[in-house]
């Protein structure tokens, strides 16, 4: 093994065998939970909805507008963004065989933020006036930095996970410093706009963006689900995987590209929502085992659940003030995760 054992109990210590019935049970349980949180996102809000009225529609029907033009698209976007981040996190943890891997680590977020910052600087702050331009700049920045990082991590034509991991950490620190630098130089009105974008939000009105992100997420999911078996074998180590007939290099490239394009789109639309991609796969691994055939789809659904609930809290907790959703994901996710981790450690080490 090229890297120290990072003590991820779920990866090796836990060998609960995945049966078909367990697969179905866990996923249908999660789907049910997803449905519940989706309904919660529609029901909870600052305004009490009259459901019959909301369903009826008609010109100037406020309940209808609130349900179908603000809450539903927002719930759909939160769902897709959460699913994308959860899945990308699980896939990257498998790819890099490192428990600290998360979507924002592979330079996508840093790149997206840099793209956005560059757009702000070049346009002298006017970019805030054209909401379509910021995501485009962010996606472009993400794409470029992913390409650079990928190239940096190729050693003799092969993707090296530990190089990618280190390069990602360093790249994010570099991007962070550049952003702080720009933030200090632009005036604080612009800086505020930049910051509120960086903090992330899944607010959506209307369905255009929402539809695009949903389609994209599902396509990426289908693509990544295919690599569940090779990722399982890869967790035994690169040499073993190769001996077992896995085309290690090809799998790594495919998973890396799939995950980074997924995260690129998600970040471009919703900014930087932290913690989902780190905590959801870990939690699910602790709860249901490390088999990627289950972990990938369950992280997909689990991410959607987590972000739906977090966004509902963000909207309603201190209404009418709306919290940044990233604040809620970190504040609620971290303690829960620590609890699970402690429980698991006690179970494993007695």
């Amino acid at each position: 093994m090229s890297q120290p054992n990072t003590g991820n109990a779920g990866e090796f210590g836990d060998a609960r065998y995945l049966t078909k019935s367990r697969f179905v049970t866990v996923l249908s349980f999660l789907m049910l939970l997803w449905f519940g949180s989706f309904l919660l996102a529609l029901v909870a809000g600052n305004v009490r909805l009259d459901w019959r009225e909301a369903w009826a529609g008609g010109a100037g029907n406020v309940h209808h507008l609130i349900l179908f033009e603000t809450r539903l698209p927002r719930a759909l976007l939160a769902s897709a963004v959460g699913a994308g981040l959860g899945l990308a996190g699980a896939a990257l943890q498998g790819l890099l065989r490192n428990p600290l891997a998360e979507p924002h680590l592979i330079g996508v977020s840093g790149g997206a933020a840099l793209g956005a910052v560059a757009a702000v600087v070049v346009s002298g702050g006017r970019v805030f006036g054209s909401p379509e331009l910021l995501p485009v700049a962010a996606a472009l920045g993400a794409l470029i930095s992913v390409a650079v990082l990928y190239r940096l991590s190729l050693v003799h034509g092969r993707l090296q996970p530990h190089v990618l991991l280190l390069a990602g950490v360093v790249y994010n620190a570099f991007a962070g410093a550049l952003i702080l630098c720009v933030n200090a130089l632009v005036d604080f009105y612009q800086a505020h706009g930049l910051l509120s974008w960086l903090m992330g939000s899944v607010a959506a009105y209307g369905y255009r963006t929402v539809a695009v992100v949903n389609v994209y997420t599902v396509v990426a999911a289908v693509w990544l689900f295919r690599f569940a078996r090779p990722l399982n074998v890869l967790s035994l180590g690169e040499t073993s995987a190769r001996q077992l007939g896995v085309a290690v290099h090809r799998v790594r490239t495919a998973v890396f590209l799939g995950a980074s394009l997924l995260v690129g789109v998600v970040v471009a639309v919703s900014g930087m929502i932290g913690f989902v991609g780190l905590i959801v796969p870990h939690t699910l691994r602790l709860l249901f085992g490390a088999d990627y055939r289950l972990l990938l789809p369950s992280s997909f659904v689990g991410g959607a659940i987590f972000l739906l609930v977090a966004d509902t809290l963000a909207r309603t907790l201190f209404a009418p003030v709306e919290l940044p959703v990233g604040v809620v994901t970190a504040l609620s996710g971290a303690p829960f995760f620590v609890y699970l981790l402690r429980r698991e450690q006690r179970r494993v080490y007695g």
Binding site: T70, A184, P320
Partner: protein, 289 residues
């Protein structure tokens, strides 16, 4: 819209509408908006100044002036308005100022068929124009013209008094750590000029530049206006007593307090200019009620 309302309900609505129409003798007056949501503190102040505060059904968390505005329902913050709360108020007019955070929400409201008017108010001239524009929207044009005339006259009166004097140098702070000053092109820069002062911050840059302490010490302004948030509560003058070498501190011409008059391009701009003039030219501009 997706579905047509039930036939009988449509008839009932039509009947009610007709009843309203018949019972309202002056139809042109009825077209003036009666349920207004304001998404900016400046515009809230203008609506109140026009005597139409009772028509406001929603304001932001930052709309705290006049005190009566605090009793109105909140529909989010100035930077992040909550769309569903605005919708729930069923406004017939939404007033908004452009800001980096509210763009999407404001566009969504327009898209949903609400009457939304975006009014920029970030300079003295724009504040006066905003008064006129809001008065037109509220069909209070006479009142608006009166207000705008008084607005101009008060500022002109200040200018007349202070013009013969030499302009003292002023530093206008909105943040202490880091030091953030009102630079060129800001409302404060303009108000300082109108009040007969020379804004030192304008040399540091455009907008809201951050400057370091050395810059402040080197410029050594004659007057410091410290409108940084929470500055009054944070200390009782202890912050500035550390800089006893500054001319402004020595001569007791540091004015501390985040007075919203100094920060908003609304109907109270003349008050702010008078206040600044009093600080800059105490002999020329006596205390006026």
């Amino acid at each position: 819209m997706r579905l047509q309302p039930h036939g009988s309900r449509l008839a009932r609505k039509g009947f009610l509408l007709a009843l309203c129409w018949l019972s309202y003798p002056c139809w042109s007056g009825a077209e003036a908006p009666r349920r207004i949501v304001s998404l900016s503190p400046e515009l809230t102040e203008i609506v109140f100044a026009l005597g139409a505060g009772d028509r406001l059904v929603g304001v932001t968390m930052q709309c705290d002036e006049p005190p009566a505005a605090r009793a109105i329902a909140r529909v989010g913050t100035f930077l992040v308005p909550t769309v569903e709360l605005v919708l729930a108020k069923q406004p017939d007019l939404v007033l908004a100022s452009p800001s980096p955070g509210n763009r999407r929400a404001v566009e969504a409201l327009m898209h949903m068929g609400l009457r939304v008017v975006v009014i920029q108010a970030s300079s003295v001239g724009e504040a006066r124009d905003a008064i006129l524009e809001v008065s037109r929207l509220l069909e209070q044009t006479t009142k608006g013209e009166e207000l705008a005339r008084a607005f101009e006259q008060r500022i002109a009166a200040v200018r007349e008094r202070v013009t013969p004097d030499r302009s003292p140098s002023v530093f206008f702070l909105v943040g202490r750590n880091p030091l953030i000053v009102a630079g060129a092109g800001t409302l404060q820069d303009e108000m300082i000029r109108l009040a007969g002062g020379k804004n030192v911050g304008a040399m540091a840059g455009h907008g809201w530049p951050r400057v370091d302490l050395e810059y402040l010490l080197a410029q050594d302004p004659e007057v410091i206006v410290d409108a940084s948030m929470g500055s009054e509560e944070a200390d009782n003058g202890t912050f500035w007593s550390r800089f006893a070498d500054l001319r402004a501190v020595r001569s007791g011409r540091v004015f501390v307090g985040a007075d919203s008059r100094l920060l908003r391009a609304g109907p109270r701009v003349p008050e702010a200019v008078e206040m600044l003039a009093r600080w800059l030219h105490p002999q020329r501009v006596p205390l006026v009620p």
